[in-house]
């Protein structure tokens, strides 16, 4: 069916507005990239819009020298990788028994866990618990209090429950214990849902600065997310980076260094994002089915 004149106008307007929405997501990012790669004069004169002017990688050199930023970036990687593995293991350890009919008091435990989504101990009491366990200034303070996200646990449990009973029965008849069933039959079938959950956990750990702010006081242990946050909030850190006593060094604007910091933090996300897109859409769909 050929679209009428009115419909053609509708499609044109619709797609124009969507294009604007998409560009509104793209342009701020391009602007930040442009600022990070422009030289001092161009940024000072305010000529930088969507592409770099007076190409310069000086901001990155300043940012990376002195070792504080590379160290913080490494901390981000450590926090994210270890946290991701721990969270996946223990979320599965919570979800799998709760999905097995033979297990005890499944309803009680599910309700007890869901209740913590609705009512929680809040910042100060949780801090006191972490403190009494002597976990301050240790990465365990970042990994343990958020070890299992009940929301993610429910997504995995719902997926496990959706697997046919016959699968478990036949595994049992073939002599599989619960662990073998989990590792050899259930997990290989669950790769897409695990990819989604891994994405949620990974992004959460990478982006987290609040726990680091609360629990980690040693600067050499803090992550880049917090460091960039501090760079945005206070000029003094930027100036500290800028005043490296390097003879004949060209000055950089705080805007460029800040932009470079944002880019270093966001770059890993931009790299993995295209590969993970198909998973998270699926994950949100699974999550939206109530379990």
């Amino acid at each position: 069916m050929k679209p009428t004149k009115g419909e053609q106008l509708f499609y044109f307007l619709n797609e124009s507005i969507l294009l604007l929405a998409a560009l509104s997501c793209l342009f701020p990012l391009l602007h930040v990239i442009a600022l990070a790669f422009s030289d001092f004069d161009a940024v000072m004169s305010g000529l930088v819009t969507l592409w770099p002017r007076g190409w310069s990688t000086e901001a990155f050199r300043l940012l990376l020298e002195g070792g504080r930023v590379p160290r913080a970036l490494l901390n981000n990687v450590i926090i994210t990788v270890v946290g991701l593995v721990l969270s996946l293991v223990f979320t599965t350890a919570a979800a799998y028994p709760l999905a097995r009919k033979r297990f005890y008091a499944r309803r009680f435990f599910t309700l007890a866990f869901v209740f913590t989504m609705l009512f929680n101990g809040g910042l100060i009491p949780t801090y006191l618990v972490v403190n009494s366990l002597d976990l301050l200034n240790s990465y365990w303070a970042l990994w343990l209090p958020g070890l299992i996200s009940t929301f993610n646990m429910l997504i995995i449990r719902t997926f496990f429950l959706s697997l046919p009973d016959e699968l478990f029965d036949s595994a049992e008849i073939d002599g599989c214990g619960e662990l073998r069933t989990l590792f050899h039959i259930v997990l290989p079938l669950s790769i897409p849902v695990f990819a989604t959950i891994a994405l949620f956990y990974g992004v959460g750990y990478w982006n987290n600065f609040v726990s680091v702010l609360i629990y980690i006081n040693k600067t050499e242990m803090q992550n880049l997310t917090l460091l960039v946050q501090q760079m945005i909030q206070s000029q003094s850190i930027l100036e500290g980076l800028n005043n490296a006593p390097d003879a004949g060094q060209t000055p950089m604007t705080p805007e460029s260094i800040r932009a470079a910091g944002i880019l270093v933090l966001v770059a890993p996300m931009l790299v993995v994002y295209p590969f993970l897109q198909k998973y998270f859409v699926k994950g949100v769909m699974i999550g939206s089915i109530k379990g």
């Binding site: 297990f103 982006n207 805007e255």
Partner: protein, 305 residues
């Protein structure tokens, strides 16, 4: 008979041993990091000091709650929390629906995919990034927005340093981050609408807007209702990160919310009991709101549990 049952439950137990083994740390986690802090709320009724500990500190009854009710600044903060989150919901709620409806009408799949890729992206950025980007764009001296504004008028606008513009940026940045991603759930709901309805409407001579109004919107109405009710339930939750990354001292009195205030007086000011009392207030109101919201949702046959 007894013996048979005993062997059966023994067999069940034996098969459950690996499950129990993996479940014990999970229970320990929930007890230590979820339930123990709830128990820690008792310090809201005590004069807590590190030296005396949770159990040794003396009881003070409702002292801290009286302090909250009698302190105008604390009441202002509670008001800010309500106001900002209500504004977030009222202004932000329609955007994901609009994006989903519009994406649904796109015919070119490549265009649709590209738009989706871009509008989902900000969801994965840390609030640090969002704050950094918005401060870069809107800063008074060097922001690109003010560079453009000063082409037309003399004075730049101090976006981040006036209460009303700060609030606009706060709400706007939230929409920028989440509107695209939140559209996914509506897109999922849209796929369940029977396409023959549209064909029938076309035969009856309905135009695009009539079809959207009479078929598409009613089709996703349950989802819209459910999400609206649930967001009402979360009204006490103004995320710490979102406010913290944008805040500055000039707009302090209109931007301070419960979560940031608890952090400042509790952790930085070491007023553990007073901030815990505020936290308990926040958690209780939040709990009541979520439960009420779910009651209402159940009336529409849509509930979380």
């Amino acid at each position: 008979m007894h013996a048979l049952r005993a062997t059966r439950s023994w067999a069940r137990f034996k098969r459950n041993i690996p499950l129990l083994a993996m479940f014990i740390p999970v229970v320990a986690f929930y007890l230590i990091f979820r339930y123990a802090p709830m128990f820690g709320y008792i310090i809201a009724f005590k004069q807590y000091t590190f030296a005396n500990g949770v159990f040794g500190s003396p009881w003070v009854g409702l002292k801290w709650f009286e302090l909250i009710v009698n302190d105008p600044f604390t009441l202002k903060i509670i008001w800010n929390t309500f106001f900002l989150s209500l504004l977030n919901i009222v202004v932000g709620f329609p955007f994901p629906i609009l994006i989903a409806l519009m994406l649904n009408e796109v015919r070119n799949m490549l265009f649709k995919k590209s738009v989706q890729t871009l509008v989902y992206l900000p969801h994965f950025f840390s609030w640090v990034i969002i704050g950094g980007i918005f401060i870069t764009l809107f800063s008074q001296e060097s922001g690109i927005v003010n560079k453009i504004i000063t082409l037309f008028r003399d004075e730049p606008v101090p976006f981040l340093y006036q209460a009303n513009t700060w609030i606009s940026i706060y709400v706007g940045s939230g929409i920028w981050k989440e509107a695209g991603f939140s559209a996914i759930i509506y897109l999922a709901a849209l796929t369940s609408i029977d396409p023959t309805l549209y064909e029938a409407a076309s035969v009856d001579g309905a135009g695009k807007f009539r079809k959207i109004w009479h078929i598409t919107l009613p089709g996703i109405r349950p989802t819209i209702f459910l999400l609206l009710i649930l967001s009402m339930g979360n009204i006490m939750e103004v995320g710490f990160d979102h406010v913290y990354v944008l805040q500055n001292n000039v707009v302090y009195s209109s931007s301070e919310v419960l979560s940031t205030y608890i952090y400042k007086i509790g952790l930085l000011g070491a007023q553990f009991s007073r901030s815990t009392a505020l936290g308990l207030f926040e958690a209780l109101v939040g709990f009541i709101l979520v439960v009420t919201a779910n009651r209402v949702a159940r009336r529409f046959n849509q509930s979380l549990w």
